[in-house]
Structure formats: C-alpha cells, structure tokens
Assembly symmetry: D2
Homo-oligomer: 303 residues x 4
Amino acid sequence: MKIGLIGLGKMGGNMATRLIRAGHEIVGFDLSEENRQKATEHGAQVVSSLDDLVAALPERKVVWVMVPHGKPTDSTLEALLEKLSENDIVIDGGNSNYQDSMRRGEIFKAKGMFFIDSGTSGGIWGLEEGYCLMIGGDTEAVVHVSPVFADLAPNPKGWLHVGPTGSGHFVKMVHNGIEYGMMQAYAEGLELMRAKEEFGLNLANITELWRHGSVVRSWLLDLTAEYLKNDPELKELSDYVSDSGEGRWTVIDSIQEGVPAPVITLSVQMRLRSQQDQSYAGKVLSAMRNAFGGHAVKKVSDE
Amino acid sequence: MKIGLIGLGKMGGNMATRLIRAGHEIVGFDLSEENRQKATEHGAQVVSSLDDLVAALPERKVVWVMVPHGKPTDSTLEALLEKLSENDIVIDGGNSNYQDSMRRGEIFKAKGMFFIDSGTSGGIWGLEEGYCLMIGGDTEAVVHVSPVFADLAPNPKGWLHVGPTGSGHFVKMVHNGIEYGMMQAYAEGLELMRAKEEFGLNLANITELWRHGSVVRSWLLDLTAEYLKNDPELKELSDYVSDSGEGRWTVIDSIQEGVPAPVITLSVQMRLRSQQDQSYAGKVLSAMRNAFGGHAVKKVSDE
Amino acid sequence: MKIGLIGLGKMGGNMATRLIRAGHEIVGFDLSEENRQKATEHGAQVVSSLDDLVAALPERKVVWVMVPHGKPTDSTLEALLEKLSENDIVIDGGNSNYQDSMRRGEIFKAKGMFFIDSGTSGGIWGLEEGYCLMIGGDTEAVVHVSPVFADLAPNPKGWLHVGPTGSGHFVKMVHNGIEYGMMQAYAEGLELMRAKEEFGLNLANITELWRHGSVVRSWLLDLTAEYLKNDPELKELSDYVSDSGEGRWTVIDSIQEGVPAPVITLSVQMRLRSQQDQSYAGKVLSAMRNAFGGHAVKKVSDE
Amino acid sequence: MKIGLIGLGKMGGNMATRLIRAGHEIVGFDLSEENRQKATEHGAQVVSSLDDLVAALPERKVVWVMVPHGKPTDSTLEALLEKLSENDIVIDGGNSNYQDSMRRGEIFKAKGMFFIDSGTSGGIWGLEEGYCLMIGGDTEAVVHVSPVFADLAPNPKGWLHVGPTGSGHFVKMVHNGIEYGMMQAYAEGLELMRAKEEFGLNLANITELWRHGSVVRSWLLDLTAEYLKNDPELKELSDYVSDSGEGRWTVIDSIQEGVPAPVITLSVQMRLRSQQDQSYAGKVLSAMRNAFGGHAVKKVSDE
C-alpha cells in the first residue's frame, strides 16, 4: 500500500527501504536534507513538507511517524491532527511513553481518526531481519494497516495486535526493561570472568561457545560475541552507558503498580551511576567514614 | 571411544545415549537399579561396581563422573583415585564448585593422573540439541578426550577448552549466574505486564511474538513462550524457586574479587526470599512501624 | 496564637494537645465524633463544620490541615480556598506529594493567600518529644506561624524553613526514603543473626547493647530494642509490610532526576514483595526451571 | 587490672588511654616507635618485645590484641600461643572474621588457654564516649576480664557477653553490615536532595534539623551534620569509598545461610563500584548498545 512516513533517520529510513523492497509505496518526509536524499536513493518519493505528504496520499490516508519521542512526536502529531481527516490512520512507531499514547489516542478518536501505537524492536538489524512489532489500537484500523506490519516483520509471527491504544508502547517499554536486565546480567558475568586473571579466559571465545547449546544463548549474546571478536578488551569504549527512557519508565510504572522489579530497576540505576562524573553519595560516605573512624579518605587531589 | 560413565540419571543417562548414538562405547554405573536398566535399554554396557567399571575399560582409562556435586562427587573421585592408574583421565561433568575442582586437580596431578572439569549446559534438551561444554584441564588430556566432547556438543563450536583445571567449572558458574539474572529479568517483566489488567495482555502471545525479531529473543524465551501456551496463568506452579549452588557461588566469588555483580546477586536473593515461609526481617519492619508510628500492623492471625 | 486544626486523628489530635499545653488556642474539626470528643477533653474548642472553624478564627486566619494525603487533602484545601480570604495562611502538615504541594501553592498564591507545606516527623512520640518540622513556603508567612512551629518542635533546632513551597514535603519524602533504607538494613541484620542458630544470640540484648556506644545507634534502634524486650520472636506480627507513599515517590523522583538510589529503592521493593500473596514472577521462574532442566518444581498443592 | 595490649595505633592507643584513666595498668607493645612513644606519654608501660610483655604481666596473664585482621593477627596469636601458659587469656579486639576466631578459639582451647573475641565499635570517639563491646568466649574467662570490658564501655549496658567464641566477631560483622546499609541510605537521600537544584536546599541545615525529633536521627546523622557544617559540598573528598572486610563477609555469610540481605549487599556493591576506575561491565553495555542499535557510544577519547 501507499503510506506516508515521517522521520527517515536510522530507524525510519531502514523501514522505508524494507517496505519499498516488499512492494509498498513510501511518501517520505524528514527535516534533514541528507536523510531525504538517502530515502530517495532507496526508492522513496520524498516531499518537502507535511502538506505535500498529506496531499500525496490516497484516500484513507495512513501516516507512520518515526521521530524522537517527546516534543518532536508531539508537534508532528498535532500537525497531522490538523491536516488529516476522519477515518485516517496515524501510527506512532517510535519509543513514546505509553501514557502519552493513550492520551493521544483519545484526541485522535475525538476527531474520528485512528491512532495506532507500534512498539518497534530490532534496531539497525531490522532492515535485513525484520522488525518485531507490538501494536496497540482499534482492531479495524490495525487490520487496515496489516499489510505494512506484515512486511516490516520478519515473519507472520513477528507482529501482533496486543491490545487497545497504548498497549503497544507499554509492551515495548517492558520489553526494553527486560533487555536492560539481560544486558546487565551478561555484563556482570563477563566482568567477573575478566577479573579472574589466573585463568586467562578469552571472553570472545567463551561468548561464542555459549551460543551453541548453552542456556544463556540469545540474540544479545550473538551480538556480544561478534563484537568481542574484534575488540575483546573494549579499549576504545567508555563505560558511560546512556539510557533511552523506557528503562526509567518501566521502573516508575512498576513502582506505581506495586510490582517489585528489582533487577530491571537496578540495571537502570547502574547506568545512572555510570553517567555520574562524581558521586556526591560517595563523597558523603567518605565524609562519614572519616568522621567516625578517622579513616584516611581519598581526596580528589589524590586521583 | 570407550569410556566409563558414573551417574546415569537425568543428565548422565542422556549423555550416555547421545554418545552411544555417535558410536562411542559406554560402560555405565549408577547406584539406582532403575537408572542402570534405562541405560542398558539405550545401549550402554552397565556394571554393578566401580571395580567392574574400571576393569571393563581399555588402557588409558577415561571416566566421566556425572553425580551430584559435594559429597557424592567427593566420594566417587576418591574411589577413582584408588582404582585408576597413572595417565588415566577423570572428567567431572557435574556442577562442582570450581575451587573444589582446582583442589581435586592437584590431587590427581600428584598421582600422575589427569583431572578435567567440564561445565555442562543444556539441561534435558542436551540429548537432542547437544550440550555446551566449558572445559578446564591440561591440554594433552583434553585433546585425548576431544572425540567425546565433540559428539556431546551440538557442533564443533559447542565445546571449548577454556583454561586450566577449575576454569571449566568457573565459566559454568558464571554462566549460571547470568542465567539467573536473565530469568529474573523476564519474570519481572512478565509480572508487570500481567499486573496491567486494563490492557488484558496475553502473555503467551507476547512471548511468542518476541521470539521473532525482538532484542530479547533467546532460548529461555523460547521455552517460556512454549510453557505459557499450555498454562498462561501458571496456576499449578508454586512461586517457591529453588537455587542450585552456582548462583550463590557467583555472588560469593564476585564479592571476594571486589567486582560488583548486583543484578546477578539480587536474582539469587529473590530466590532466597521466595524460599522463606515467614520473613523475620519483615516482622522486624512491622515491629518498627508499630513502634514509631502506632501503625496498625497485620497480625499472623489476620492472614 | 489561635489557629484552626482540621484532622484530629492520631497525628492531628496529638499536635493539638501539644500546642494547647504550650498556651495556644486550637479550633478543631474532624469528621469523626470520637476524635472531636477526645480533642475537647484535651482542651480544644471543637466545631462541627469548616464554616464554623473559619468563623471562630481571628483575622489573618491560620489553618493547619492534618488529613490523609490525596483526595481528603484535596477536598479540604478546595473548601478552604472558598472560605478564606487574602493573606490567610493554610499549612498542609500531612504526607502530601511535594508536586501536589507546589501545584496547590500556585493556586493559593493566585488568590493572594499563603500555602505552607510542613513535612512532619515524629510519629506517636511527637506529643511528648516534639515533632521535627521541614517547612516550605514564603518566608513572611512562615515567620507569622513560627510560634506554632516552635512549640510543636522539640527545641529551637527542631523546625526549619527549608525552602520554597513544596520543598518541605520534598525533604520529608527523602527523609522517609532514608528511613525505609535504615529500617531494611536493621531488619536484614537481625534476620541474619537469628539464622545463626549455633550462637543462640539474644536479639533483644544485642539491640540494647548497640544503643550504647556503637556506630549504629539511632532512635529506630532504641524503639526496636524496646519492642524486642517484650516479644523477641515477634510471633504475633505478620511479615506483610505496608508502605505509605513517600517511599515510592522517592524512588520515582530519583529515577526522574537520574540519581541512583538503589538501597532506598530496594527497601521499597522488599515491602512490595512482602505484600504479594503469590508472586507471578516466582511462578515464571519455576516454569523456566522446569522447562530447561526438567527440575521438579513445587506445586501449589505441595504447600 | 594489669593487662598486656599489643597494637597501640588509632584504636589500641585510645583504648590504652581510656583504661589507664580508669585505673588499670597497661603493658603495651607496638612495632611503631611513634605509637610506643605516644602510649608512654599517656601512661602506659611500653616494652620492646612480646617476650618482655609477657614477662611484665602477673599470673593469669591477660593480653588484648588490637592489630589489623588477617596476617598480623595470625602471627601475633601464634607467638602468644608459644609464650603464654595454661589458663592465660587472649582477647582479639580487632576486626577478625568470626570463622577465624572460631578456629583460633579451638587452638587456644587445645592448649588449655582462653580465647575471647571482642567486636569493638566506636571508632575514634571511643576514647571519650566509650566502646561498644560484643564479646564471645567462655563465661569464666569473660567474667575474669570484665573489669576491663566495663571500663572500656560507655556504661554497664555497653558491653555484653553475646555467646560462644566467634559470636562476638559475628555480631560485630553484622553490626558493620547494618552500618553500611544505613550509611548508603543517608548518602542516597542527601544526593537526591542536592540534585533538586530548584529548591536550593542547605544540606548542613537539614541534617542538623533531622537530629531533633525526626525518625532518622542517629549517631551517624550527628556526625554527618557536623561534617557538612564545615564543608557542605564535600569538595575535597573523593567519591572512592573503601571497604574494610566486614561488609563483604556479611554478604558472603548471608548467601551461605540462605538469608536475603539485599540492602546490605548493595551497599557493599556500590562501594566496590566506586573503587573501579573503569567498569568493564559498562564497556560491555556500550558494546551491546552499539551492536544492536547503532547507538553512538562514548569513546574513552571523548571524556
């Protein structure tokens, strides 16, 4: 089918390419000239404004929004609310907070339009391997867009209408929370093996080994093993670890629900810790140790 | 090749079967008549004593020990030390503590024998899919037994000589620590999705979905999705979760090494918590709340 | 001075008594006849409606609100907004969320009134020992009410104008987060000592000992030691531990700020865990263990 | 009474002074000339060898050992085993592992001597305020030394014979575990308050405030408030936090006992994290994020 696609960056650009390969027509828009250029090369029809994008679409317009969550998504959706008509369908395929999606769904519904939230997993590998899609929204609209979902997904089981509006992004949020926990578990284990210097373990070989028949085999392990082959010491990488929102939201949601999610939470907190240049909490501990025990404590100038 | 195999239970029995299918000859021993019977049916030559087992093996005897860690392994290895001769090889394929394996390796070495520790992953699926083997010991002995390793493993990459004696069980220990962390991450995420009642999420469908293209796809997820298909509410299962040793050892080792492994640790601790019928710590908290705030606290009789 | 006091329960009633003892006049209101009766006995002038309460106060009316947070506080404050006049002062001394207090402060300010948030610590001991008050709001209004703060506090250092509106409840929130962490630390330590059966430790004696010269001496320890004297086994207490809001808010706020607060967080989560009758996460772990290892798992019917 | 005291450093030197003030006679020994000199000035009789120390003591010799745990304690105790006689009493007042103390107790007992383990809390404040003593050993020997315990303690309730040999150091170990948890809770709370810049909170004033009537008042808070008065930003302190053994032992012991102690554990782990210059686990996370999401990750060269 012919759909609009707003956001032609790393994720959106690849999705356009994958859909075009499957025979769909993409009318693309992006603020960046470079991204627009690339999409053109991959076969998209690129326009230079939202008005042009809307104008280029056939009736019952379908627009996929793939821009950063928060303000960019908000302003894009507000513009589409003005420019689209009853029965049209907007899909937010980005990493929006599910509560925002529930709120936005209400606004579109009040105008007789449809809002679908699609949690999208797969990263840069989605282009070749397909994206796992967790979809929330009204059944009728989801069915209408299903040819697109089916071709983005790796296979017929790779997309699912999980529930009402908001549930797609909720399931994606939890997915990412789990991902944080898994990543941290691997990272801790690898660090412990590396610390056991007397065994002289080769982590690239061991992670490769575990891919074959072990209980911890996974796609994340596949990627890790490949990465370590080229750079087992990870010398050039910083131990500063960013977080992208869903992890924090999972923690907050679990606390609000009264569900203990300690491992997911701690995975987020270890990232927050990695983001600190100086930990004031650590300084407070040093102060206390000095105060009660007369312990010599490290000064900044010692470092 | 022809090797001895002591312990024909769930793990050992399957390994015997897999090796026999690959053309090896197995001389098996187990204290249980039932296990011996089963192994016979699968083609093993079964004997009724360790002496018979040793007698039945050709020169440069190779004996694989697959019995519960701790005392059973200790007494089996002590007996083998008496009955075997210089250059013979014993493999401990069970879940022994790697420090025990290092100690045992020294004892065998002092007698001119070889001790190999093989961390063995794969569970009940190993029979069909192959076992992932993490092997520690002297290279010459490992090479000698390599035809066995190769046929137990799912493919040539599924076994690895990771380092000196003890390192096989060490790597397996860390493997299991990571496994605990991954399992807890999935479990927390699933519980959070289940708690979001307004979305009416179908966890069997969602775990199946994630198998196709998501970042959290893994073998553990495969198993979970299959299990949930038959029993999504897990009504018959208790929330009591056992632990089998390696998780605790990973925690202790990380603390001794000074390596923070908070997520693996907490995964173990949540299992310990699940094993408590009554938490005295919880009662202490209730006592404090009552003491400072006059908070009405639950009495056992309210429950 | 003469002030209104809405909410004459466990906290509000004691505060009225303490203020009356110090020479202040209290016009009290409570929905409960019993609470009103008690306050009368302690010397308060009790009225039967908010209108009467307002009418009974002198110019520049000062009203202290001490009702449960959330809806009761909301409806009380909304009513006062209608009934009070410019320059009047309302103090929320309850456990409100600091963001609610910031919002409410704006509303009162827009009407030319003053809103003060007072985080109040001390529990049922405040009557005799005095309350620790963490106060947010405009300086002029805080100064006006200072005679009340001074007499509620145990001494001149026991109340403080910590910052603008909202900051009083924020500081109280963090105070409670710390309290959760301290309580959990003691509870874990006591449980570990109790588990060491071979030493036959007397926890009542040990907690009493620690009150004298140890690094962990504290008021919470004082209360714990006293409680354990009467009931060292805590036999009648449940291990179900409630939480009252501030702990969860501290977690959420720390995550939003990007500040790692793992110990406070985990203290909250262990309470959430204690509140679960059955842990679905635990059942998921049992399912996985069964699926990969064929581990016999506990059934509900075994318990 | 007249006792020997080996180790005249920060702790031992102060204990000597406190005992001399109370009328006891101290025969002191230390490897450091400076420490010996100081002890002489405070009234101790100082000797230059263990032989001289033993020779200077009256019958039923009592020797208090106050040296670093591990090897220094081991070698001192071994020397005393040679030099002392039946019925003599040795007290280890340092921070030894309780399992070492149990083992040492057996050795002394086999020679007809007495070994007492005294967990000693109070830090540099013990000199003036008294030490809290947790004492393990045979009752008869403990009673014999009780005049010394009584004068080291702040008051008659400040020392306690808690149980058999080893139990004194065990209780001290748990005490320190709790201390780690409390410290971390305060540190996290203070960091969160500091991060809330819009409130401009004065942490020195707030910690002082909390000392008066709040639920979190404690001796550790007293020290923290005093420290912050002089240096609220803790500018000169490093966030590197050492750990001294008991915290790690508490974690290990809790895991071995199967008792969940997550908050104490995490307090230790956050210290371990603070001791890392570069976290390999963090680098692994960066590698994974880069591998699956193409996320730009920080390079070491960016820092």
